[in-house]
Subunit: 225 residues, 2 copies
DNA sequence: ACCTGAACACCGTTCAAGT
DNA sequence: ACCTGAACACCGTTCAAGT
């Protein structure tokens, strides 16, 4: 081959060395995140990932026990991305009710922009049931959930929210926004023309704000004038 | 074989005829529902289904265009099951707020008892994006959703719920209970010892009632004494 | 019209072998 | 220690052929 020699050192090998020695583990995780962001599919094959990274498929098993272990690492990266997306909304200095709605909107928006990653983190059975074996995953999730719990405690302190079990109310809020994100992402609520929800003709983000307002005010309250 | 002749008619063929002529289509759908109810997996293979029904795998393609079309038929059956599970709760004669909580609890319970079927109906990407091609699916979903919307309208009439856009509020309630069901089913909220939720030490059904009460009363309201 | 057996292009994973 | 090529047991689907 023409690339075989160059100053006595094969170019091909120089290029390849980058993947051989630079840690393949991170390259695989980053490549997987990229594939999930690009792909219209919620899944990807290890063979696709391997060829994109420039390595054979079984090479993965030098760094991960199986596909599930890889997916756990990807999900951890996802939790960091999500936290980065949520944090600005609770540091805007706006009033806390607005921060609450902003955070919910940012959460659903993250899901819409990273549907496969979101599904992996919060819904897919691809994260194995034995995933509690990976404590880093639970830590990453708890760290992200902390953004919400901190806000709820501040709302309690300012009298914007009833006193009570913050963990329970956090679970309620989480379930609520997760339900919104899940239904939109999986297409159970169809988006008619751009950004509007079936039978609820308004952009997704407005629907999220309105829905979360119901959670603050309660259905029993009279509708606002 | 010993079964070859019996009164001049092979027994084997007598038994097989049932599947050959009795419509295979329904047998496949029912078999698929059974597989989803039994299986710990959210998915099943067409080969498993075919062998259970006693037929070769490609036989399926005489009745369905592809696996997606089969899954649509299964989901339709699921919506009928769900409606049957919800309807008693809104015909109990109890006060409407109780009916509201009962229905939400029955919804989540249906998901917990039929996780694979629920996932197919409300979350899985296995229902193809072009599923609006199947109008029966939308009809089945709308028919089931009607149970909720009817209740919300009755609540409005009795002054138990603010006036407003019933479709929008129905969407909010649906997203809320779907979020609860999804997180529990997919194990994102771990069940510590029997029936209790992580960091929310109460049975699932109690958590659902408490969470939905928040939606009725609103977070701003003072907690009940 | 309905079903079968063989085949195709995939998939995750294993394993002996190379460096 | 890290990676490869060949192979294994799957998968959904196609297709010619049988009845």
């Amino acid at each position: 081959m023409a690339t075989k020699t160059m100053k006595g050192c094969p170019v091909k090998r120089l290029v390849k060395k980058a993947y051989h020695h630079g840690d393949l583990r991170n390259a695989l995780v980053e490549g997987a995140v990229d594939l999930m962001e690009e792909g219209q599919s919620f899944d990807f094959s290890l063979r696709d990932l391997a060829s994109r990274v420039g390595v054979s498929a079984p090479a993965l098993y030098s760094h991960f026990a199986d596909k599930g272990a890889l997916m756990v690492a990807v999900a951890i990266a996802g939790f960091q991305k999500l936290r980065a997306a949520l944090e600005p909304t609770v540091k805007s200095g706006k009033d806390l009710s607005t921060q609450f709605l902003d955070m919910g909107q940012a959460y659903v928006q993250f899901g819409c922009e990273n549907p496969a990653l979101y599904d992996l983190m919060f819904a897919s059975p691809e994260l194995p049931p034995q995933r509690f074996v990976y404590p880093e995953l639970k830590e990453a999730g708890d760290y992200t959930r902390g953004v919400l719990l901190d806000l709820l405690m501040r709302m309690q302190d300012e009298g914007l929210m009833r006193r009570g079990d913050v963990a329970m109310d956090g679970f309620t809020v989480w379930a609520h926004v997760h339900g919104l994100a899940s239904l939109v992402i999986t297409g159970r609520v169809e988006c008619a023309q751009e950004g509007s929800i079936e039978a609820v003709p308004m952009p997704v983000k407005d629907a999220v704000r309105m829905s979360l307002s119901s959670l603050l005010d309660g259905f029993k309250a009279p509708a606002k004038a």
